[in-house]
Amino acid sequence: MTRCIMRSPKVTVWTITQLIKMEEQENLHDQIERYLSGEMNADELNAFEESIRNDRELENEVALHREIATAALENDVIEFREIVNSAISENSEEPVFLQQNNRKYLLIAASISLLLLALWGVSTQLKTPTSQELYSSYYEPYDDLITGRSDKLADERLSEFMSFYNSGQYDSGIALIKEINIAEKPLLQLYTGICFLNTNQFDQAINHFTQVSANGGMLGKQGLWYLAMAQLKNNDLEKATESLKIIISSGENSLYNAKAIELLEKIKN
């Protein structure tokens, strides 16, 4: 992501780089939002304000967060601008090329555009989607079934792990889950596999999904589906095809069966 707004002295660039590295982008958003809404305690506030004073980029980022919140809620200004824009359009004269009675050129241009559009449409339809495109179309993270179930959150680290998972901080999730025993806990193995999948650590992801599917039970299909996703993202169409065929061979009338049939069809094409 392009974060640099203005070039700052070396020391301040280093500070924000360090911040980003440690907290990642979402965490930075979270800190800025907590700062702006006055949720920080005195120590946090002092430390954060010190960072702002020493870091021009962070200062700009905080200002941007503050200002977009105000600007986005200015519905009256947005509407007023549209009214002025309409008044300008209504009072402006017709474009010169239409005044000059050159509408035939406009028709020719429109015809060429339509032809190009049609050719583009045909070429798009003929193009076979790549494994990455298929992955992007079919992958979505598995829903959080843990947060909100108090009995599952006896371990605070688990709550934190799910928070990382839900916010897409998969690296932080992986670092934390290593401290938790997830053996014989297929749901946690599934979430861990998804963290590895999102950080492109395919061997680890495949290992976790294989364990989930081998365990069978209620999450067997999910394990197989995400195994296919990992293989697809890793450009291993052959193995992804095998995994999808196993899902379909169970013959169950489930959501994963329907999705597997549809995806397999696209891979074959």
């Binding site: 992501m1 986005a72 809620l73 009214i83």
Partner: protein, 197 residues
Amino acid sequence: MKDEKDIIGLILKGDSKTISKIYQECFPAIRQMVLTNSGDKEEAKDIFQETMVVLYRKIKNDSLTLNCTLSTYIYSISRNMWLDKLRRKGKFQNVMQFHQENSGPDKNLIDLIHQNETYALYQKHFQRLGEDCKKILCWFFEGKDMKFIAREMNYKSEGYARKRKFKCKDKLIRNIQNDPVYHEITEGNSLDNHTIN
């Protein structure tokens, strides 16, 4: 123009007929000023549009003090706005010449012009977001919590709502920061501190 107090009231209400009349009366002079100072007609229209928004902001904030006719004041906002753009574009020669022929810029007005331009950029990118993102961010900016957003959007968890909010906001910020106008504004404002003061 009729009584200026009435006109100001009608501008605040967003009366399109009044705004059309102002356009017809004021735009020719603004266009002439822009065209003779390195600009084109489209830029002149943009200047008129944002001049009206600045005027609207001043009326809304109750900070409009007229020591001249309303049309002269509108022209004055446009001139300052265009002068500021020229300075940012680095057309110093034009600015010098322009500056010699006119009185110096009003600092308060310049600040309002800057703020308006910055907000216009944010609003343009906000308007371009998907409907769901706009809804989520509006609620978030209004101070609604994730529980409310998750319920209104039919999301299964607050965590998911939080994730969606982050993605929408991150996209908005990236789009703004990648807009060349954003760099023009931020770099131009730091330039102002050296040239105006």
